[in-house]
Amino acid sequence: MSERAPPAIAPVVSMDAITKTFPGVRALDQVRLDLYPGQVTALVGENGAGKSTTVKILTGIYHPDGGTIRIDDAPVTFAGPNDASAAGITAIHQETVLFDELSVAENIFIGHAPRTRLGLIDRAAMHRDAAALLAEIGAPFGTHTPLRDLGIANKHLVAIARALSVDARVVIMDEPTAALSHKEIEELYELVETLKSQGKAILFISHKFDEIFRIADRFTVFRDGAFVADGMIADITEDALVSMMVGRSVNQIFPARSALVGEDVLQVVGYDHPTEFADIGFTLRRGEILGFYGLVGAGRSEFMQSLFGITKPSKGVCKINGRISVIRSPADAVAAGIVYVPEDRGKQGAIIGLPIFQNITLPSLGRTSRSGFLKLAEEFRLAREYAERLDLRAASLDQDVGNLSGGNQQKVVIAKWLATQPQVIILDEPTKGIDIGSKAAVHDFMAELAAQGLSVIMVSSEIPEVIGMSDRVIVMRDGRIAAELSGDALTPETLVRHAAGITAAPELQEA
């Protein structure tokens, strides 16, 4: 590990031997973390390494089971979020923690709004201050706008403004760029620079290495809830950081695939939706992996969900094995052999509250039952088969899926769909928020499915993954197909150009 040079300056915040346990999980085990004024510290680690838990402890949302937090070398304890913000610690959390029904200004100031002498909220002052903050971060909307009228990226800007509304010495950003577009990310970088120059200490959490190497001054690595190393970014290479993170070297190479692509399985012609997408058409062949690339919000998930029967297209035909299938509901889609592993695992994927085996057999009940009556033994048999095939880590099959880790929940969702023996499987952002180690496993598995003759549609926003895994890629922009790329045409540049609507000349074109 890197040598710790005595820092020239003292840390603002220093966490030491912090431990936090949840029922069944030791999220943090004796970790330490130092934040220095005027510097950006990147906190890196795999999913579940305990990064967000650290943030929540620093902001007073969780109470540590043990260890000390010092501010300016004086130990502190936070009874709640208000204490932390009073101590000058503010955060942009991983989840958006905002209120749709309140205005932008109220979202920024809820909990610490300026008051009049009577103790009432001083609305004039609140809107004035909010407007100043929004101007500072270049937000293109007013302070009276109800939050629900904003898109995801703009909501994120509100979250940033909220973090800045506290006169903070420490600013924490937990995966702040996940929802932002390229341009907005650039603006965020500028903001980080400004904050740095104001002498604030910044904690920056991200899974994207280019980002880390671009703006961070220092790094701290956690693995499985334990401290691994820290040091200066300048002293370390990307590879070294990755191996510290996962505790082994990771093979970044995508599985080799023999393109055994067969006959047409799925044909989509002229899918239209009044507001979300238009004129989508393509063909998918047996054993093929078809990538769908696009910027966040390009309408890929919306389209996939309509292919799966969740939303109704206004027009369009879908043929399976040459025959037209009318898909009006997910039940129809499953019957037709199309299944969908959603992006939002917690809400749309697993049914928390039901045991694992019932989750797995839910769409296959028709096969495990006799004339509508359940046959438990049959269900357990089917569930066991797929649990073993996917190497599920669980105590028992009648355990609530809610008790599983995120990755294992994802396995249950995939198992549930494989058990229906589909022809086409749609994977929506299958590796989103998944760490490098598990990513490789997902990629291998996809290749295996395709090799077994399953047709795969993979929606992804990550260029290496799209290029590495897909036989062919469809790029979507603003709800339409912008391009279909394969072979030599499939390069990072072409993907980006088509996704962003840049033609040969680097000019923005009207969509």
Binding site: G80, V97, L98
Partner: protein
């Protein structure tokens, strides 16, 4: 900026206006100021309770015990009045509000500390409170001649042309308008119902806010308990039986979302007034009182269908062409 006009409230006010015009066309006396004042006075308890219920519903809870709370408080103050006729009215008021708040606090504690679903808690306390009235009164009525003249006179006393009962509602409305819009508690109530998860992150204690909402609702029920008993000059086990549903109905008609977080003081008040006008207009225009129940049921259904339609988010619009045309 059409979206800043509160659409629901405007339409509801329009509906009330239309109703008044319709009634006036058959019975002009109904819209005479004096009669409208009567209608307001008659609706005052519903307005006060609807505001309390609104706060509770906004925090994703429901309080089915308000009517029982009202009846129990009313019985207690009536019995106190019988025992101590000389107790001054301010003391009576203080007792009523405190007792009501205490009952609200019981609901609130069970919801906050034991995390029992509010509908279960208040279903339980509703029957318990009613039962307690029977136990303390032995099922007997407290009649007007047993109450002291001051006790029954208070809600009727006329100030600036309106009885105190009406003023109580008006003051409650003003206090609530201020509280909901301009105090941290008011904003927290919206925040807790709108996104409880996010509320935790912003340092708002969800359970405590829900507890306070129940206390507020209880205190208002207590206040109404005294006003009700004094106005009708009688207290017995069954007063305001089933009134809790009318209160919830007023909120629903007023556009308070049962899922929490959405609603306004204006909406709750208009919802209550709508029901009050219907109730008072029917006998006047000679529609058989038997129609009243069906009419208020239909009003609830129409209002909720309408509110859902108005409140349904348009969703995201990706297609540029669709965006331009919408």
């Amino acid at each position: 900026m059409a979206r800043f006009i509160p659409v629901r409230e405007t339409i509801l006010a329009g509906a009330i206006g239309l109703l008044l015009v319709l009634v006036a066309s058959r019975f002009p006396g109904f819209v005479a100021p004096g009669n409208l004042a009567n209608v307001l006075n008659d609706t005052a308890p519903l307005i006060i309770l609807a505001l309390g219920q609104m706060v509770v519903i906004l925090t994703r809870c429901i309080d089915l015990s308000v009517a029982a709370n009202l009846a129990l408080t009313g019985m207690v103050v009536a019995m106190i009045n019988v025992a101590m006729p000389d107790l001054p009215i301010p003391v009576i008021l203080a007792i009523a509000v405190t007792l009501g708040a205490l009952m609200g606090a019981i609901n609130g504690i069970l919801v906050w500390k034991l995390a029992i679903p509010p509908i279960v808690v208040t279903l339980g306390t509703m029957t318990i409170f009613r039962g307690i009235i029977f136990l303390i009164s032995d099922g007997k009525w407290v009649n007007s001649h047993e109450m002291s003249p001051a006790f029954t006179a208070f809600p009727r006393a006329v100030i600036l042309g309106l009885p105190v009962l009406s003023w109580a509602a008006i003051v409650t409305v003003i206090v609530f308008a201020l509280m909901m819009a301009r105090t941290p508690l008011g904003r927290s109530i919206f925040a807790v119902g709108g996104n409880p998860h996010a509320a935790v992150y912003t340092g708002i204690d969800v359970g405590r806010t829900q507890f306070l909402a129940f206390v507020i609702s209880g205190a208002l029920a207590g206040l109404t308990g005294y006003l009700w008993v004094a106005r009708y000059a009688v207290a017995y086990v069954d007063i305001a039986g089933g009134f809790e549903l009318e209160v919830v109905a007023a909120c629903v008609i007023g556009g308070i979302s049962i899922a929490g977080g959405i609603g306004s003081v204006g909406g709750a008040v208009l919802g209550a007034i709508f029901l009050g006008v219907v109730k008072n207009a029917l006998p006047v225009i000679n529609i058989s009182p038997f129609w009243q129940l069906a009419i208020s049921g239909s009003a609830i259904l129409i209002a909720v269908a309408f509110n859902a339609r108005a409140g349904r988010s348009k969703g995201r619009i990706i297609l540029k062409s669709a965006e331009a045309s919408s």
